[in-house]
Amino acid sequence: MNISRDGDLLTCEVQTGQLPMKYHPDGTVAVMSDVKETRVFKGKPFVMEESIAGDYAFVKVDKADRLGNCRFRKAQNNFNEVMGKNAQITIVEADHIVEVGEIAPEDIHLQGIYVKKVIQSTEEKKIEKLTFAKDPEKLLEAGE
């Protein structure tokens, strides 16, 4: 485990799986998390990660029916599906609440068995970084 202070920056090696848990007021690390167990599989070392035991999941979907079956629109899935299946209690915020049967069975991405409540979304859907196609020349100036 290697931690070094470089001016105002704090750097540490990540391969032990450790992360700072608590800082001193001056920015140095007060408490580090425990070193994680590693094991070799087929000659390659792996860090063991325990699965997250979620209590609640707040998931955003496009369509949900009364049974809690959900369908994502475009790239909306992200971690919604897997978190929805992980948590003990999953609450779905749906853009559209539809009749049971309206979502084709093979189009259901998050099954109702995982869902506790469905709520109608009331928030306006916004775009954080509206990005339009540019000329190749302008792409060179784009930066980060």
């Binding site: 540490c12 475009k74 899935n77 992200n78 339009f132 784009a142």
Partner: protein, 175 residues
């Protein structure tokens, strides 16, 4: 791992991006990072098609939209609006990292902040290895402006199956 780096300012970016685009082969599945990599497809050689993977769950990511085409449900990991190419597929992030970890991605191109995990790369020209170590580590884990490693760690874990190309313009100024 192929590192393409040149000391200097913005006028060197085009050389890096053009050279990076030469690494594409027809039919490759490619993951592009923030920064110079995202500009590389504009310089694809004639007759070469690649399929872009976006780790938030897209295979077949297309160009940026034109005004009117933008869709709030269609973004890349950098939160920028994108489009889909014909034949695209959509899935969750768990599937996305599954295919990445399985080495199914043929080439990954890392730029900007994602280069941060390689503190102390040895084959850079123009700056000392020690100076790079400070710059690189600061780029991805900066208190107050933490971006995190993101998907980079998974993308570079299979170098025998997933070719890694790193694009960066070196400077002696820590960011």
């Amino acid at each position: 791992m192929l590192t393409l780096a040149v000391a200097g300012g913005d006028d060197k970016r085009e050389r890096i991006i053009r050279r990076a685009a030469k690494e594409f082969r027809d039919g490759m599945y490619v993951n592009l990072g923030i920064g110079m990599p995202l500009a590389a497809p504009a310089f694809l050689p004639e007759g070469i098609e690649v399929i872009l993977q976006s780790e938030n769950g897209i295979l077949g990511m297309g160009r940026y939209p034109r005004p009117g085409e933008e869709d709030p449900d269609l973004i890349n990991p950098g939160k920028e609006t994108v489009t889909l190419n014909v034949g695209a597929s959509l899935f969750g992030s768990h599937e996305s990292f599954g295919m990445i970890r399985a080495g199914r991605i043929d080439l990954t191109m890392l730029g900007a902040l994602q280069v941060g995990m390689y503190g102390g790369m040895k084959n850079l020209r123009g700056t000392s290895a020690k100076a790079n170590k400070k710059i690189d580590l600061a780029n991805f884990m900066l208190p107050g402006k933490v971006k995190g490693i993101g998907g980079a760690m998974d993308l570079v874990a299979n170098p025998s199956q997933t070719k890694v190309v790193i694009t960066m313009v070196c400077s002696n100024q820590p960011k």
